[in-house]
Every structure is written in C-alpha cells, then in structure tokens.
Amino acid sequence: MNLEFTPEEQAFRDEVRSFIAENYPAHLADFGMREDMSPEDMLAWHKILGAKGWSVPAWPVEYGGTGWTPTQRYIWSEENARASTFMPLPFGVSMVGPVIYTFGNEAQKARHLPGIRSGDVWWCQGYSEPGAGSDLASLKTTAVRDGDHYVINGQKTWTTLAQHADWGFFLCRTDPAAAKPQEGISFILVDMKTPGIEVKPIKLVDGSYEVNETWLTDVRVPVENLVGVENKGWTYAKFLLAHERSGIAGVARSKRGVEKLREIAAAETLDGAPLIKDFDFARKVSQLEIDLAALEITELRTLAGEQAGKGPGPESSILKIKGTEIQQRLTELTLEAVGTYGTPFYGNIAKVPGDAGSNQYPVGPDYAQHAAATYFNMRKTSIYGGSNEIQRNIISKMILGL
C-alpha cells in the first residue's frame, strides 16, 4: 500500500500540465461555468481534446479511450481542476457514450461515437418528467411503433442545455401493459431537429437558463434508433446513472475550490484580522478539508476497484452523496466568506461604461461576483443524478441488503 506517484506518473503529470498550459483557450482561463458562457466556449476544450484523442479517457481503448490507469485519470482530473478548465459536458462522454458502446449495435457505434469523441455533436438527456422525478420509472412519455418508426409523445423536463443539443437520449414507455413500471421502458436516440420537438427554457434561481422543458408531439423516430432491446431500457438507464455518479464526486474541483476559498478568506477581514484567522470560520474550512481528504481516498479506492475489474457499482452512490454535500458546503462557505458583496445580482449590473467587451463589473471584488450564483446553482447537485435520498435507498438495498 502506498500513496506515492511513480516516476512515470510524475512524467505523465508534467505532460498533461504542459498540454493544458499550451492548448487551453486563453480567454477561458480560470473561467469556470458561467451563466454568460457561449455554446462555442463550452465546446472549445472538448474539441481540442477530441483532436488530441483525450476527450473520452475512461472509454475502452477500442472506442477511443486513452487506456490510462485510474491513477492517470485522477492526475488528469487534478490538472484540469488546477487550471479550472471547462471540461467536456457529461451527456455524451459520460452518459450516452458508455450506453452506446456497451449496449448499442455496430451501426449505432459507428454513427454516434465519433461525434461524441470530437465534440461535434451535442447531446441532451430526456429522463425526468413533470410527474417522474425520483420515481423515474413512472414516466409517461410513450413511443408507439408505427411501421419503421416510433411515434413519441410526452413531456420531458430538466433537459440540461437542450437549447443547444443536436441529439437526445430518451426514456419512453413502449409497453404500457407491462407488469411492473420498470418493464416496458425503452432507450431511444432522437435527432433534436425532428419535427414535433419543442424546447422551452426554465429560468433558475441564479438567473441562468440551464435547463428546459422538452415537449414531444408525434415525433417520428426510426426504429434503428432503439438502443439494445425494446422494453429493456431501464437496465441501460440504471447503468448510465451509475456511470454518471462515478465522475460526480468532483474531488479535484472541490480541492481547487477550497484553495480559492482560502484566498478569499485571507483577503476578507473580520474584526480587523483576516477572516481565515477567525476560529469559527477556520473550523468550518478545516472540517470541509477533512471530509474532502476522506472522499479523495474513497474515490481512489473505488477507482482501484475498477482497475481490478469491478465496474462502477452501488459504492458510487457514496461518492455522489459525499461529493455533492462537499460541493454545496464549499459554495455555501464561499458565499459566507464574501460577505455583503454576495448580495448584488451581477447578471443585471451594467458593465463599466466605455469598457465594452471586458468582464469588469462595477461593484465589489472580482471573487464575489459568482459566489451567490454558484451557491444557488449548486443546490441542484443533491437533486440531480438521482437525489441523495434515492442514493441512500440504493445503498440500503444494494449494499446493506435492506
């Protein structure tokens, strides 16, 4: 047992660090996710990585994966966090991609995997419905076979960034008479330009438009877009969620976030001294760091298990619960640290006159500008991907056997 990096791993770290330094778009440096980010900016790093062959490290090599060890993937995520890069969106790379190469047919793999790797095709996820959130299996959107097509009708919600999507993967009910709600669901790929699809934005508490309602009315989709076996979609859906969860811990990002929090708390003052010298505040930061240190090792243990041939299993639910709790606590402490400058809604404050094109806002320190928006936005993390309560149900059933 040891925690040391080998000389080869150190060399790998140097290699990816220089690659990021030399290739990451300068105008996006230290940018993070921002409500005013353009779709082109969101795809920029994905496309660069696609050209390099590094956009889907975790995939099997035959489908374009890098063949990196779990340790190398960990180093990769650490270095990206260090540079605060905007990583490829998960919908193609971490969600539908693994479903297609695991359960899809050869034609689907040939058609869809290259676009996911390159970042040329934008994917969105059609899972939740207004009446099917945590109880996902109660979904009502139907796909009815009509010759060589399915005809899809229904309403999906929380379709993240669907306003930019080229394709979507949808869970639809294909056998309404099935004995159990989990049976009779199919996993279908849908071209978002198909007539009958309407995407309506939902404004969120942080002022952003990240998610949508997606209405499907008599949408005709060729049957060749069915993934795997009809009515077996629930199996693929669960597989996808387990994959989604394994990357969801965000340990490296949170570590970088704690560094930034410490910088803010060193700059802010309380009773004439740096905020970070205040015991009550310092205690909260240390508690966060301790929980994060534990989660980092827990994630590495899980990765080591994967390397030994175990796929992401129910343990990934621990990573999801603890990872999102830590992300939320981090944003909460960051908002607390910036004090009163967490109050202004920066989205509507005019830029400095005569300073067109700059991101200079007129009030408060730079680090305060996104603190509240990020805090508000990150409440989603304990809700999406199967709420943290659902994760507890999964652990209870699959690990504790209750």
């Binding site: 047992m1 040891n2 925690l3 040391e4 990096f5 791993e9 340790t71 960990y74 410490r262 970070i276 015991f279 310092a282 205690r283 930061v285 240390s286 508690q287 760091e289 301790i290 929980d291 240190a293 534990a294 989660l295 980092e296 090792i297 827990t298 590495l300 243990r301 080591a304 343990e315 621990i318 619960i321 603890k322 309560e389 507890r392 149900n393 652990i395 209870s396 690990i399 504790l400 056997g401 209750l402």
Partner: protein
Amino acid sequence: MDFNFTEEQEMVRDGLSRLVREQYDWETRRKAVASSDGWRPEIWAQLAELGILGMPFSEADGGFGGGAVDSMIIMQEFGKGLVVEPFLPTVVCAGGFLKHAGTPAQKEEHIGGIVAGSRVFAFAYAEPRGRYDYADLETTAKKDGGGYVLNGHKAVVIGAPWASHLIVTARTSGERRDRAGVSVFVVDKSAPGIVTRDYETFDGRRASEVYFEKVAIPADALIGEEGAGLQLIELVTDEAIAALCAEACGAMKVAHAMTVEYSRQRKQFGVAIGSFQVLQHRMVDMYTAYEQSVSLTYLATLRLDAPDAERKRAVSAAKVGVGQAARLIGQDAVQIHGGNGVTDEYAIGHYFKRLTIFDSEFGNVDHHMKRHIALA
C-alpha cells in the same frame, strides 16, 4: 498509488480474523474482562507465536520486517472483537520509541521480549492536569549522580496493571508546557518508589494511576536525547493514533453490521424495523461514515513517514473524522437497538463504549481540529 495488501499481509489478516472469531467470541471476552486479571495471557502468547507482536519491527531489530500498514491491519481485526490485550501500548507505543530512538543496547534488551511476548509495556504520558498537551508535565526527572530521580503522577495509564515496564514522559528542564525539556524514559515497573492504583475502564480494559515517589532510574533509561523528547513523542503518538483509528474502524464495521442485522430481526408494527426508510437512511449514513473513516485511516497510516507538518495534518484529519464517525455510529447503533442497546447483555453497548472512549485517547476531535487548523 496502490491500495492492495501484500500476500503476507492478507495472510496475517485472515489468520488474525480467524483467531478473533474462534477464540475471542463474545462470551469468552465477557468472562475474561470480568476475571481478576482482566486479560488473557494465553492469547498474548499465541499472538507472539503467530508473529503478530513482532510484525512491525525490522528484521535487524528482531522483528518480521513489517510497518505501519501491518499495525493497521492488526488493529482493525482487534477492533472487530474488542480485543483488550495491550498491543497498542506495547508494540506500537513502546516499540515505536525503541525503534525510532532506542540505543542498540535498549533495543537488544526490550524488543526481543516484546516480540516473544514476555515483556509487556504501558505508556505513561497523561497527567491529571495535562489534558492532551504532551509538554504540559508536572512529572519531573532530575539528574542525580549517574542517573535520574522521577517524581510525579501519571493518569489513566492504559494496560499498566498488566505491564512489566513503562514508558514515562517527564520534564528534565524548563517550565510546564515548554516544548523543550521533555524527556522519555523506559522504566521497570517494579522499581522502588512506584505506586499504582489499578482499576477497570468503561471499555473493558484495565488502567492505573501511577505515582512516582523519588524513583531512581539509571542514565541508560533515557530514550533519545535529553530534553528533546517532544518531537519523538509527537511521532510515536501519531503512529498510535493511526493504529487506534484502525481499531475504531474494526469496531465500527461490526457495530454497523450488528445494527443492520438487528433491524432485520426486530419486528414492530408487524414488520422488520429495517424496512423503515428513516432507519435505512440512518444506517446508510453510518455506513458512509465508516467508509470515509477507512479512507482517513489509510491516509494517516500512509503519511506517517511524510515530513512533520504533512504527517500531523493527515493524522489530525483522521482523528477528527474517525472520532466524529465513531460517535455517530456508536450512538445510532444504540438508538436503532432500542432499549436493548443500553443493556449490558447486548454486545452493541460494549462497542458503543469502546467507540466513545476512543475519542479521548491521544487528543479528541476538538484538539485535533485545532491542530489541523494551526497547520493549514
């Protein structure tokens, strides 16, 4: 980066696991801790025979070439069975001082006996008013001719009733709480002037108040450099904390498993209480706290050889995180067991007590939180 145990380590773990399962069952332990001796010397002899007591010593020192990871594996298995025998004070603490700072003669004299099981140690560091500050010492060792004279009172010395020898910390110069002036001695417990009051502890072990009244000890009782003992004490107690965290992990694992099993058997309102979501989620949070504790224990153990600040920060992180988990799991295990959880008859109450006492050993959550903050 590697989280695997070696084949030998797997063998040690499996062998020890079998020993605890087959020879340290609940009724046997209950009788042993209630007996006049309060422990089982025959188990100690068996541990020596199996090579467990020599595991973390180098071959040059007469051991079997293992290290902190081996101590972690051993302590985790001990934790599962609430083993009371003094592996920590003897092998990890006394062994640690001797390994790191013992002279060849001191190693020769003591390590062989530890490995063979014939020499049992206790670590006398705490004092009635010192709390968790190893430098806050009223016990003194004054130079006297060729040796020293010890005076003072050591508090709650775990395993002292079973020990033939003590490791004693004392001030050789400076004022209370000065970092400099702390020294470490190895002392024969039968030396004239040593008076002990032995008692039971809440977690089934034995301990003593140890009084030193003009105890004359030879010059070669000093371990390491005179007056420069604090750094050594910090190193060895960090090693002890890592091992204790492993023990707590073992105890938490069993306490959690017992609770899940109990919730399957116990019926109320016509169904097993384990079918209630409110209890399921509590047991999931216990499980998560346990897994996070294992991770922090790995971190602390694997950072024991790191530079001082890094080592201390990792060890304090573990003592905080494992301490919080031990409290959560102990209390929730009792709660889910209902009234049975607070009876002496059910094993769970005894796991709860061990997990409670764990917090105060070598600094509690608050103490290590402060050290973690100070090292940021």
